[in-house]
Symmetry: C2
């Protein structure tokens, strides 16, 4: 057990080194980088399609998936630049995987880079990939108790997106409770309720990113 823990520590140390290198490369290229984490099927790829329509080739996406390149193909269709990492079984992305992907991308046209992590609320939470912002996403169909059940993610997330609000009339979801739970776990978190289908709430999410880019340059 002790040996397993030591190996875990070494893995995390090596991950952190790569994360810092990624962060410094992205800052040098003036790219705002998001690490987007959610359950499978929360609507990450649909959100990225909406973002692709807004940002076009100024948006880059690195898509992490255990298997298939379906998501990267969907995003590419919007004009954004996307690159798929098939993790081949691993349940989260590591900073080294992202570093390898970055080495194959032209960062100069990019303003925002989203790393779409493997669909999983547990394992990706503690791996720094070199992002500027960690973003947690859940959908209104998943129930309201996600933040308290998966605190490792929600204590770290700078922003929380609550998606699929178009389905609110058909599900039991206590929006105010979720927002309050998120703030209890991280008091300065920004919460965005939106729908990729209806477009509701999308503008304030895009403005948040524009604002971060503007403040990063000042």
């Amino acid at each position: 057990m002790v040996e397993t823990l030591r190996i875990k520590e070494l893995v995390l140390e090596k991950n952190q080194e790569a994360a810092e290198e990624n962060r410094s490369l992205l800052e040098k290229n003036d790219v705002l980088c998001l690490n987007l984490i959610s359950s499978p099927g929360s609507g990450k790829t649909s959100l990225l399609e909406c973002m692709g329509k807004h940002w076009g080739p100024r948006l880059g996406v690195i898509v992490g998936d255990v298997q298939t390149t379906l998501d990267a193909e969907r995003i590419q269709g919007t004009g954004a630049v996307s690159l798929q990492i098939e993790t081949g079984g691993s349940c989260h992305l590591s900073a080294e995987m992202v570093q390898h992907a970055l080495s194959k991308m032209d960062l100069s046209p990019l303003e925002v880079l989203v790393i779409e992590n493997v669909g999983n609320l547990v394992c990706p939470a503690t791996y720094d990939l070199g992002e500027s912002l960690k973003v947690a996403m859940l959908s209104v169909t998943e129930g309201a108790e996600k933040p308290v059940k998966y605190p490792a993610l929600f204590v770290r997330a700078h922003a929380v997106i609550i998606g699929k609000t178009d389905l609110l009339p058909h599900v039991d979801f206590d929006m105010e409770r979720v927002k309050a739970d998120c703030r209890k776990l991280k008091n300065d978190v920004q919460v965005f309720a939106l729908s990729s289908k209806s477009g509701e709430g999308m503008q304030s999410w895009q403005s948040y990113l524009e604002g971060h880019r503007a403040s990063g340059r000042s």
Copy 2:
């Protein structure tokens, strides 16, 4: 890396030993055991509430969660016997954790025991807990590509539950494609489309379990 792999092997070997012990204990007590795996928020706990109303004290549930005992409390309300394992950060249940839980339960009144795994489609897939049936669950709000994106689970699942069918009119979900994809990955899989909210499809799921119990005793 080689050392990490060796440790992974040892962990899996140890898990397998405990799994076989669990399986033999459960068979001796004539308990049909399910390992229920899905994303967070797919509706596992709501399904278990429905099952609790049907089976009452003949149903036992071991609930795995990273944090909180919310789910066990919900299930207990139906008359089923439930016990919570807080994994304290681990992203899947192990056979040893289940063994520890079993040692605290009275198995004699039970006919069915459901192990509700941690909400995660990746990590729980390869850990045998000693179950009779591995059951994968997804909801119609999660999109149709889950089986092809998470094949490690779907090649192993004896049954797949497609839940929240009451939301079908409000989402894009290709039921026939999902069923076909499941069968491509495992040709003898049983697929159940159901809604814990409306009760649709619940009867054939319960009959499937009754059938398995009957055949197990013959």
